[in-house]
Symmetry: C2
Amino acid sequence: MRVGIDVGGTTVKIGFIDDYKIIHRLVVETNKDTLFDDIFIAIKKYAEDNNIDITGIGFGLPGHVSNTYIDKLPNIGIYDLDIAPIANKYFPNIDIYTTNDANAAALGELLNDKDNVKSAYMITLGTGVGGGLVIDSKVINGFHANCGEIGHIYVDFNHNYQCTCGLKGCLETVASATGIVRLANEYYNQFNTKIDKKNMTAKSILDAAKQNDELGLFILNYISESLGRAIATIELCVDVERIYIGGGVSDAGDILINRIRDYYKKYSHYAIKDLEITKAKLGNDAGMLGAAYLF
Amino acid sequence: MRVGIDVGGTTVKIGFIDDYKIIHRLVVETNKDTLFDDIFIAIKKYAEDNNIDITGIGFGLPGHVSNTYIDKLPNIGIYDLDIAPIANKYFPNIDIYTTNDANAAALGELLNDKDNVKSAYMITLGTGVGGGLVIDSKVINGFHANCGEIGHIYVDFNHNYQCTCGLKGCLETVASATGIVRLANEYYNQFNTKIDKKNMTAKSILDAAKQNDELGLFILNYISESLGRAIATIELCVDVERIYIGGGVSDAGDILINRIRDYYKKYSHYAIKDLEITKAKLGNDAGMLGAAYLF
């Protein structure tokens, strides 16, 4: 059986996976000092108790990784760590595979897609904007293990907000949860709105859009245009079969996805206008599933 | 021996290739009505006369192709044509492979690179701006066989010139040979210049830049900034190891390549600033070499 692991800032989700289905789940607390020992011990115990043969272990990790070597997992506080010797203590004959969490999620969504999709970009709209690329059903990590950092595509030449990465006008400065609140603050006094300014969140702003709130609609439109433009660019660079939109902001659902589609059609090259853009379906399970099929 | 073919608007270049070297060349005139018969007859004759065993035939074609099926080669006037039955008349047991010319050139440059490069984007600055993507030493054609159409990345939000593709502000509207002349006309009266306005070409404008002509330098700077920004975006989407800049405009050489590098450094994400951007080296041979290694 395959094991796919999604390492998060507070918990680690471990999936035992067969034929693209999660057969069993384990959850381990994220403890910086004993993280990988904790994970391998949990897997080993469950596998032994249930007489399961493990064919490989894949990780989706929240940071910069290359093969079994972790450059950094900044949210957890792990730097410069090789997983291989730790794995070797518990599973001397099993191979370990890694990628970042966005790539693992992209592969998970693709494998879960009923349409036998072979190439896709997943865009995750959360606190930041991340992405993962799959071509020929394989994760593309990139030469610098940096493939998918599409949150830093230059798209907002109207405001040129400073991004945390050091650049300005990045997609993430407007289309992330943080960016949505930033935009709403910037335009708050220019529209009729019932949004509570003191407690604004991406959710409250997009919920207001669903109620035809003027400010909410303006923000919805603005981020959809930014995303439509960015996807038009992504698609020129890689020409994938499908785009999955995931992350907390995507919970806004059809009102957001449809508007992104409209702007994509407006700004995309004529040969690729039929690209399918859909909401990601697996939520938190995507990372586990994808990680299990890195090999 | 492998055969790699670069189909151009006036001539077809056929290379017989062994161990990444072009051992022999044939040239056939591009005749719309008999194009593929002409090519296969020439190959067959040379192979028989010289007792050469052919292992496969690859094509780089100037248009939209998918497997052996040609959707369109607009500059030649060929539409909706399957090469397979024509090939079968002359080479019933040899497989035929195709991609577009930009992809073939990208693979050719990568294979010719002494540094054992595995992934690259080639950008061709000619009448338009084209591109080709190679990952893990394989050409990426894309779901719509449209991968590499990076000339239509939206980058010129200053002028928003109308592009032939129907969009506005495409990279191609400023960074192609045509775009360079367009820009020079737009800014001609704003700078001290010795460039002959009536006979301006991309070459005369970039040559003037080398002589420190004010207008020439302004244009050089403007297109380098546009290209630097576009490459920064491309690299976020795919994270390749190297960028090759080819096409007639790239003959401007170091003055152009160095300035593109400067702007790339300015606009690129911190994790990928060390990307190597180099001038393509093979010129017209890149397409033949790449086409021969599609299989």
